[in-house]
Amino acid sequence: MYPKEMEKSVRKVEESREERLHKLPEPMSAEEREEVLKKYHPDYKKEVKRKLKVGVSAGMVVPNEVADIIESNPIISEKDVDLSNIDYDVDVLIIGGGGAGTVAALWAYYEGIKPENILIATKLRHGDSNSIMAQGGIQAADKENDSPAIHFLDAYGGGHFANKKELVEALVKDAPFIIKWHEELGVMYDKKEDGEMITIHGGGTSRKRMHSAKDYTGMEILRVLRDEVRNIGIPVIEFSPAIELLMDGKQVAGAVLFNMETEQYYVARAKATILATGGFGRLHIQNFPTTNHYGATADGLVMAYHAGAKLRDMDSVQYHPTGAAYPEQVVGQLITEKVRGLGAQPVNVDGEQFVYPLEPRDVEASAIIRECYGRNKGVVTPTGMRGVWLDSPMIEIIHGEGTIEKNLAAMFRLFKRFNIDMRKEPILVFPTLHYQNGGIEINENACVLGKNGIIKGLFAGGEVEGGVHGKNRLMGNSLLDYNVFGRRAGISAARHAKKAKIGKLSLKHVEDYKKMLKDAGIKTERKSPLLLPEYRGKEALSRALDIF
């Protein structure tokens, strides 16, 4: 049930449904895409970005929120920690316990590193991550009419031809292998009776290659991978994020960890270190709500930058076209692209179509913003939020009754809690901050790159790294990314660890970074990595005393 004003618009959506079932707007041409992006995509506003003043990628234009955490004081100094007292001494240290970190741990183990010589350090619980929230699916070109080359072209064009080609090649060529690995681990992909994978389209795909496990795809994959890590006995320390990398003058050599509950630090020495810290959704770029988990504060990006890692494609931010816009309690939460994949059309306040439902994400998002703010054809909620309808009842008409409960159980449950039955009523959506398209630059072996090539001892996989998706990621390529590059990072780290020798641990690079900030004339109170966003109520904070 919707408030009265919104119900009026729902009637119009119902009235036009029959006619809309049989026709779709045409996909946009290259020129049309460019026009709507330029005018309406949040990334194309100039005043929301600035050039970095310090570090390897100085001069690169990034969102202000990213520049703020890069141009911040590190939270620790050399003098704060005793590096001669080693708490954890391992072959492979993995920072981050989401998808990429979990996959990296498994492949470091398969590559011959003993479980006790691996350590996963993570900020929240093992598995609390964007990986577990991904709903819609994972791409892999494993059907007869499809090929890794077609997948390559889809991903490269979707990324606006800015992707690093070697990384796209690795992504698409490893994809079927990854799905097969999952199948062997017992992941329950949606299949037909003869075992054929059920695959559908995602935005920007030219073949149906989206594999899913209902709309809990990310959760199903991650809980299986996590179970495997637990069975093998790879140690995980939770609520203990890394706060700086350690170096020995020549290479990365572990990290300083921080137990957020007891507020003590640990020194973790490692022959190889993997960053699997995810992206920046909780920085709320341009004040957008986000689909991201609580810990997505781009800590890894900051730590790697302190250690000399290069960034790329950080100017582009992914806004998912369909975040929930009503009810208020769930604003910004992800409405999976699978809803459109199954046939729900975006429709405006008058019940009219205005965009092909499966454009690449940035184009689709821009078209929705245009409808709400350029053409004033959005639906206004009681709190003043604007959105467009996603006509979910169409799914049941096209695929039969029961499809939503079966294939979109999470979505159905989300709205049912607030008395909206998406089988019968459309749902209201607006773009939401979703993904860090760019990140730390890596090569195809997941080695992190600095000014002079590879930064020895440092590897990265998942959302923290950039280049795979260029300026815009396609649906289903992020679950794939964390598997492909998490795996490659795990293998590369294990191989490196077998021959690496670590010298004296140091935080000199952090002191150097502080000097760089000073030389660039940056005087600020800001500190990073942030670790957690600040959501406490203003009134409560205004009375807070810092006395113990």
Partner: protein, 229 residues
Amino acid sequence: MKMVRVYIMGKEYKVPEGLTIMKAMEYAGYRYIRGSGCRAGFCGACATVYRKEGDYKLYADLACQTTVEDGMYLAQLPFVPANKATYSLKKLNADDKVLVEHYPELARCVSCNTCTKACPQELEVMDYVQASLRGDFEKAAHLSFDCIQCGLCAIRCPAEIPQYHVAQLARRIYGRYVAPKALHLEKRVEEIKQGKFDKEIERLKKMSKEEIKKAYYARDIEEEAPEED
């Protein structure tokens, strides 16, 4: 702004109506370290137990998906220390006894249905426990599929069964041993290994930006015919 009273671990606060339990606690000044994960109902980090004023019942739900009501008494579960069996999926004998062998406590189920009532996902937990007891992987796997592993079932269970861990094993056995294999997947992995697509990808990699743009906009798009069963 209309305010409601909530009791956070016994202390009274006034918070705006309409907030989720999670946002209400933050509004009151609590900063989560534990108890907040995906904030969207997928990770199970914010398992919450609450009681309503004048009601003796203890309710269980997710803090990020539940709206506060006036007079709620709130507490969150920081951790669930339930037993998880360890196993090698590859080596285990996937017969109908395997779940009970790994979790003998399954046999203690008294069919009281408390687990089902505690489940914030409204799953038929007791039914999948019974299916597990019978070695019916398929039923256990499908009934438990939407489980977010918050642990509320295990915390409430008088028989001390870690339902959500049992279900994880049942699903993995189903996925590996019972569900039919995707043969086209195996074939494609083999083709890639043999380098079948290398030439075509190499060709794409060597194209100029103009050439590849042209190829991209000229690609044919598979028809959107419904084919799901």
